[in-house]
Subunit: 169 residues, 3 copies
């Protein structure tokens, strides 16, 4: 019985550790992308992970690395930029997890700091040998398009997204 | 002694799990309210829970559900809106908890995204048979009114609010 | 073996508890500073802790307490102000920890709420007899100055800052 009890405690601990790891991964995204740490950003995803964002769909870690190194992204850093990612609500199911959160892109302009966009984020993560990695992050600007509230609802309920939820408008 | 040790570990685990559950509840509020998930929002509260916000006091889960379904709230969603809730500091005491955090309401306008309000949030939660629920959320805009800093202080110290702290100006 | 197993579980728990304590400390900063809780803010730091922020370097808990009590800070509170601190990514190493996060200073003005600054934050904390305390918080506005991305990268990698990283421009 004691062995069973120990195993049960260890499983509860493992769940908290998994959630801690996922929260830490998501909390590291903003600091890494705003410091231009291209390799580190790309390594948050699996090798064939996807970052599906409004205006583009980055397919694979190489494409994500290239986005961070792009002149457009480097320009945001040079001018001053915060990818401010909120606390995520995480739904863990074994080796699979769904997380949902808001994010703000705050940029420095000649008129001071402005919120360039507020975004709905749906994260699908999987446990790999080397730890948790993002399989697909789907982000949509909260500008009234219907898929943004849809992905918030799916994320809050711990559901994966179907193709319809990610439709480009 | 081993049984005692196991019980002590289990109690420490329980505390972390409770705090995780409360943080997840608070982190789910924004995604649920911005997706118009009226039933889910109302179920974060107890049946007679209160959402005491500047301009109105919603008394009971039914009133909270109706707020999410109201034309005014649906209009925010249709135009684009983020209820961005920050990480909460939680003070747990048995079956009772106080949490405090900031929130921003960021809305999409014809002139781009603007911060409509920055708000102080004081959460009082209780453990129910079905898990943690909000007994009272008290929110006041940080526009210089004195009860907003007061409720931040109370929340950071893990104190409940008295009627005075919630005075309407 | 059971004693070893119990000790191993306890160590894993201790780590989660440490990270919880550090996250709670950081989450309490905003509510405490926006409520003018000068003593409480200063007690987040060690007695000789440092708050190294762009325009000034506060050396010791007394200087931090005086900052909160200053007419300039009290003015922010009187007008309405949110020091909105994001979720931190924490790297724990025994009795030492590095945390990194963004923060927004949102202020109430005659033209409504505006983001006055978006800031990169690097926290160095140490375990004291009375719990975790800040040894040095280094904050730089994300306005294009190079040390701001540098300290985000250092924080995300769990590295301490050297003098160069903190250079004033």
């Amino acid at each position: 019985m004691t062995d069973d009890s120990l195993a049960a405690l260890s499983r509860r601990l493992q769940r908290l550790e998994d959630e801690r790891d996922i929260a830490a991964l998501i909390a590291s995204y903003g600091p890494l992308v705003d410091s231009g740490s291209a390799d580190d950003v790309s390594e948050l995803w699996t090798e064939d992970g996807v970052y599906d964002v409004d205006e583009l769909c980055l397919d694979g870690a190489d494409a994500i690395r290239a986005m961070v190194r792009s002149p457009a992204h480097q320009r945001w850093i040079a001018d001053g930029c915060a990818h401010f990612v909120g606390p995520a609500k995480i739904t863990l199911t074994g080796d699979d997890a769904i997380a949902v959160c808001h994010s703000l892109m705050v940029v420095n302009t000649v008129d001071g700091f402005v919120v360039r966009r507020a975004t709905a984020n749906h994260w699908h993560l999987e446990r790999q040998d080397e730890g948790w990695r993002v399989v697909r992050r789907t982000s949509r600007v909260l500008d009234g398009r219907t898929e943004s509230p849809d992905l918030l609802a799916a994320g809050a309920h711990g559901r994966r997204l179907g193709p319809v939820d990610r439709a480009q408008e």
